[in-house]
C-alpha cells in the first residue's frame, strides 16, 4: 500500500501561478480530501498527482518512489472523473476491463476481476449495457468499478459526486466510505463541498489560492481553524467573523463564533440586536440578527425557538467556543 508525498509543488500556466509550493503527506490507507473554492488549484493538484499534468517544479513520491516524471500508468493510481469519462462505445464490462485489456492480461483474469468489481458495486446486471443506458448513479459506480478493478495503490477522485442529485449524493458518500473501509486503500478526493469533506475524510486539506491553508482531521478543522479562511469555509452555516474591537481585545485580527455556539435570549445577553430574517429548517432555525456594533450575526437555535422577525433579541457566545484568528 502506499503513501503520497508532495514536496514543494509549483504550477504555473501561461504566467499564472496556480500552485504556490504545496507540501503534503498522505498516509497509507488514508482518506484524504482536498477541499477549497473553485479555482483554488485542488483539481490541478490532483492532476499532477495522477500524472496527467506535470508540475512546474517540486517532487511527488508515491509508495516511497519518486514518480515526478513517471507516466500515469506507472504511478499505481486510478482516477474517477467528475464526468465519469465512460467510453461511450464500450459496454460496462469493457469499460471496467479496458485498462486490463490494454495491459494485455489474459481474458479469464480480466473477466474474473471485472466480475468481482461488479459484484462489489452491484453492477452485475448491467455489465452488457452501454453507458448511455445507465442512470447517473450507475454510471458513477461504473467509473468507480473501472478504478477498483486495477487494484491501484492510490485512488484519485475528482469531484465524483457533483453531477448527482442530493439524495443520491448522500447515499454515494456512504458507499464510498464503506468502499474505503473495504479496500483499505489510499484515497485522495477533491471536492468543493465541505460537507463531503467533513463526512468522508480522515484528513482534510483546505486549499486556497494555490496554497495549503490547513491540514487536519475534520474535527480539528472544525474546532481549531487556524485561518479565517478555514474558519469560514468549514461548517454550515458559516462561522460569524468580525474584525474590530472584539478581536483586538484578544490581540487578534478577527473574532469568530459559529452560529451553533451562540445562545439566544429575549431578555439578556452580550449583544443586543433585531431579528431581520428567520430560516426554519425544522429541527433548527437559523436566525439573522442585525447587531449595531457588529453587523449581521447568524445564529442557530432549536427548532421550537419562537421569535418573530423584527423583534429584539440578545445573543451570547458560549464559553470556550470563541475563535481568535490572525489574518
Amino acid at each position: 500500500m502506499a503513501s503520497v508525498k508532495l514536496k514543494n509543488i509549483h504550477k504555473e500556466f501561461n504566467g499564472v501561478k496556480i500552485l504556490k509550493g504545496i507540501d503534503l503527506d498522505v498516509n497509507d490507507g488514508e482518506f484524504c480530501v482536498f477541499v477549497g473554492p473553485s479555482g483554488c488549484g485542488k483539481s490541478t493538484l490532483l492532476r499532477i498527482i495522477s500524472g496527467l499534468d506535470d508540475a512546474s517544479s517540486g517532487e511527488i513520491e508515491i509508495a516511497d518512489k519518486d514518480v515526478t516524471h513517471a507516466d500515469p500508468i506507472d504511478r499505481g493510481i486510478a482516477m474517477v472523473f467528475q464526468s465519469y469519462a465512460l467510453y461511450p462505445h464500450l459496454t460496462v464490462r469493457d469499460n471496467i476491463g479496458f485498462g486490463l485489456s490494454l495491459a494485455k492480461r489474459p481474458k479469464n483474469e480480466i473477466n474474473e476481476r471485472v466480475n468481482t468489481a461488479a459484484k462489489m458495486l452491484q453492477l452485475e446486471a448491467l455489465l452488457d449495457r452501454k453507458p448511455k443506458d445507465l442512470s447517473g448513479g450507475q454510471r458513477q459506480r461504473v467509473a468507480i468499478g473501472r478504478a477498483i478493478v486495477r487494484n491501484p495503490e492510490v485512488f484519485l477522485f475528482d469531484e465524483p459526486l457533483s453531477n448527482l442529485d442530493a439524495a443520491l449524493r448522500s447515499k454515494m458518500r456512504l458507499e464510498l466510505t464503506e468502499l474505503h473501509a473495504e479496500l483499505n486503500a489510499t484515497m485522495i478526493y477533491v471536492t468543493h463541498d465541505q460537507i463531503e469533506a467533513m463526512t468522508m475524510a480522515d484528513k482534510i486539506v483546505v486549499l486556497n489560492a494555490g496554497h495549503v491553508e490547513q491540514v487536519g482531521t475534520p474535527m480539528e478543522l472544525y474546532h481549531h481553524p487556524k485561518t479565517p479562511f478555514v474558519a469560514g469555509f468549514i461548517g454550515s452555516p458559516k462561522m460569524n467573523l468580525f474584525e474590530g474591537q472584539t478581536a483586538q481585545e484578544h490581540g487578534a485580527d478577527i473574532y469568530g463564533i459559529r452560529p451553533e455556539h451562540l445562545t439566544l435570549s429575549t431578555q439578556t445577553g452580550k449583544w443586543q440586536g433585531v431579528i431581520k430574517h428567520i430560516e426554519h429548517l425544522g429541527a433548527d432555525v437559523i436566525v439573522h440578527i442585525q447587531v449595531q456594533a457588529l453587523g449581521t450575526l447568524v445564529a442557530r437555535a432549536d427548532g421550537d425557538f419562537a421569535v418573530t422577525t423584527g423583534s429584539e433579541i440578545y445573543a451570547t457566545p458560549q464559553q470556550g467556543r470563541e475563535h481568535f484568528l490572525s489574518k
Binding site: F13, G51, L52, D53, D54, D71
Partner: protein
C-alpha cells in the same frame, strides 16, 4: 500540460507529409513561376510583368465582378434556401425524409454530368425548362446563351446542385436548438414568423457561418460547372477569374496563369478572411 506526450506531433506526419510534398511545395514553387515567363520548357525571369499583364487583361474586370457576383449570389441563395428548406423539412411533413434525400442527391452527382445535362435542359428552344414554361404560356428566357443571363443561369444550377448540402448543415444546426426556446416563445405569444426571425435565425448562426463560408469559398473558386456549361461564354459574359486563368493556362501562358492563380487566392482571402473574422467576433457577442 503534458499534451506533448499525449498528443504527439507524429500523428500529423503521414498525410501532413503528403500535403507538404504534393500541395505546399508546388504551391510555393508556383510563386516563383509567377515571376517568370514559362512555356513548360524554359523559364525566363521577368519580375512582376505577369502581374501587370494580368491586371491589363481586357476582361479582368468582367471576370472579377462575375467571380464576386457568382460567389455572393450562390452563397446567399444557398443559405437562405437552405435554411427555409431545413425548417420545412424538420417540421414533420408528409414525406419529409424522402424530400431530404431528393434534395441532397444532386450534391453527389458529378459536376460534369450535371453540366452536360443542364446544358440540354436549358436549351432555349428544345430544353425541358422552356418547353415546360411554354405549356404555362411563358416564353422562357435564353438561359445560357443570353449574355446577361448566362452567369445567373449557371449560378442557378450551382444552387440547385449545392442547396442540399446547405440544407443538411442547417438541419443539423436546427437539431442543436433546444425546444425550450420555442416553448418559451409560444408562452410569450410569439407567432411562427416571429419565432423564425427571433429564435431560429439567430440561434442557427453557427450553421449559417459554415454554409456561407463554405459556399463562398467554393463559389469564388468555382470553375467546373461554369466550364462544363458555358466555358465562360457567350463571349466573355460568364467568365470568372478561375476560367480566365484556365484559359490562359490552356493558351500556354503558364507564368501568367500562375500569377492569376495567386491573384485569385488573394481575392478569395481578402473576402473570406475578414468575413470569418467578423463572423467569429459576432459569435463572441452572443
Amino acid at each position: 500540460m503534458k499534451s506533448s506526450r499525449s498528443y504527439p506531433y507524429w500523428f500529423i506526419l503521414p498525410s501532413g507529409l503528403i500535403y507538404l510534398v504534393l500541395f505546399l511545395v508546388p504551391t510555393v514553387t508556383a510563386f516563383w513561376f509567377s515571376l517568370t515567363q514559362w512555356d513548360l520548357f524554359e523559364t525566363r525571369f521577368i519580375g512582376l510583368e505577369n502581374y501587370s499583364q494580368f491586371f491589363q487583361e481586357p476582361f479582368l474586370i468582367t471576370g472579377a465582378v462575375n467571380t464576386v457576383v457568382f460567389g455572393a449570389v450562390t452563397s446567399i441563395a444557398k443559405s437562405i434556401l437552405g435554411l427555409l428548406l431545413a425548417v420545412l423539412l424538420t417540421s414533420g411533413l408528409l414525406g419529409q425524409s424522402f424530400l431530404r434525400t431528393l434534395i441532397f442527391f444532386p450534391v453527389l452527382v458529378s459536376t460534369v454530368g450535371i453540366g452536360i445535362a443542364f446544358t440540354e435542359i436549358m436549351h432555349p428552344a428544345r430544353g425541358m425548362i422552356n418547353v415546360g414554361l411554354s405549356y404555362l404560356g411563358i416564353h422562357g428566357p435564353a438561359w445560357l446563351i443570353d449574355p446577361h443571363l448566362a452567369l445567373f443561369s449557371v449560378a442557378l444550377v450551382d444552387v440547385w446542385k449545392g442547396v442540399g448540402l446547405a440544407t443538411l448543415i442547417y438541419i443539423a444546426g436546427l437539431a442543436t436548438i433546444s425546444s425550450d426556446y420555442y416553448e418559451a416563445a409560444r408562452i410569450d405569444g410569439a407567432t411562427k414568423l416571429q419565432m423564425f426571425f427571433r429564435i431560429t435565425v439567430p440561434l442557427v448562426r453557427p450553421a449559417t457561418v459554415t454554409v456561407v463560408t463554405l459556399s463562398l469559398i467554393s463559389g469564388l473558386r468555382s470553375f467546373d460547372l461554369i466550364w462544363a456549361m458555358t466555358k465562360g461564354g457567350p463571349g466573355f459574359s460568364s467568365d470568372v477569374l478561375a476560367s480566365v486563368i484556365y484559359k490562359q493556362y490552356q493558351a500556354g501562358f503558364y507564368g501568367l496563369s500562375t500569377a492569376g492563380n495567386i491573384i485569385l487566392f488573394v481575392l478569395v482571402a481578402l473576402i473570406v478572411v475578414p468575413l470569418t473574422y467578423w463572423f467569429n467576433r459576432r459569435e463572441v457577442d452572443l
